[in-house]
């Protein structure tokens, strides 16, 4: 019997479950390494060379180089781990979160100040807005 994953019908949301964690293990552990200042410096000096030290897939490496967080998440990345890349780049959590929404930084910030994204129309994939 397959596992019950009732959360697959939520739009714009990837649940970091055991399957995603398995796929993203090396990607997330690479992110974790950026918690050390010396590793941040080595990564910044030559990103590709640093990534090649990790047994990540080529797609994962390209997603990191492009700072495409949605792609990183689709390939098993978790936002709390990916946040270490943002920290290395000097980005705030709000800048990182906003970068995944297709909105400009300013538009995202304004949306949050006005009370955030409404849940109406955002509960189920295909739901009428």
């Amino acid at each position: 019997m397959s596992l019950d994953k009732p959360y697959m019908d939520i739009p714009g949301t990837t649940i970091f479950d055991a399957d995603m964690s398995r796929q993203g293990y090396h990607l997330n552990q690479f992110c974790m390494s950026l918690m050390k200042a010396e590793n941040r410096a080595r990564f910044k000096a030559d990103e590709r060379a640093y990534l090649d030290e990790w047994p990540m897939t080529e797609d994962q490496k390209l997603a990191v180089l492009a700072r495409d967080l949605n792609r990183c998440i689709a390939l098993g990345g978790n936002i709390y781990f990916l946040a270490k890349i943002g920290a290395t780049d000097g980005k705030s959590f709000q800048q990182m979160a906003g970068s995944m929404t297709g909105m400009s930084e300013e538009a995202y910030r304004d949306m949050m100040v006005k009370g955030g994204r409404s849940v109406e129309g955002n509960r189920y994939i295909g739901e009428k807005k």
Binding site: P11, T14, M32, Y80, G102, G115
Partner: protein
Amino acid sequence: MAHITASVYTSHVPAVGAALDLGKTGEDYWKPVFAGYDFSKQWLKEHKPDVIFLVFNDHATAFSLDMIPTFAIGTAAEFNPADEGWGPRPVPKVIGHPKLAAHIAQSVIQDDFDLTIVNKMDVDHGLTVPLSVMCGQPDAWPCPVIPFAVNVVQYPVPSGRRCFMLGQAIRRAIESYEEPLNVQIWGTGGMSHQLQGPRAGLINKEFDKMFLDRLIDDPDGLSKVPHLDYVREAGSEGIELVMWLIARGAMSDIEGGKKPTVRHRFYHVPASNTAVGHLILENN
């Protein structure tokens, strides 16, 4: 005997810690957030506990994907603020209470909750931001703190029901400790927020209000809300709210005592990506 005098609930948004550390609390954006804790800071001074049992989650800081404990109790003598990638927060180190923590670990495990015992751990914003909003910027935290980390990063996280029942076991553990300590239990994280994907920025004020109302008046019913409702209604990171049910489960009304007194309630949107919620409940 030791006893739980109060429970405190608060979000632990990292940007709130950064605003405090960088001296931004007077800015228009942050003023209403910190104003919500003015009462609480005074209250904590007047009701200083001997120990704080602080339920929080680690955000890929102390625990990487190498080990993912569902429930982990910090039994060390001290815990350093972690470098989460921006450098460690300039806050005091956290002094533990190894004797009470070891007692709780033994009691709770014998009560059928399989805790991981952690003798070495750095603590991230999940633990230090609640201390900061409640204590300001002191040279030392007002009392020892027992960190209690819950996995809410990798799904499945523990259910609200499991957390609520664990809180009851923690209360029994604390009340069987011989020294007459005044203990507060804090539940942190939430409220509604989503930090990932195209749905990032989700906030649900109605859900948050319902959660606060039911946490006060119907915690048993609230504990039966399934994971999926949190994720769908309060965002993928809104699931952190299950941690509040551990603190609520430890209040005496759950096992036949009087209802707690609501000393303070605060709610504000936004702090960065997140809805900030805060409650203080005193045991009667």
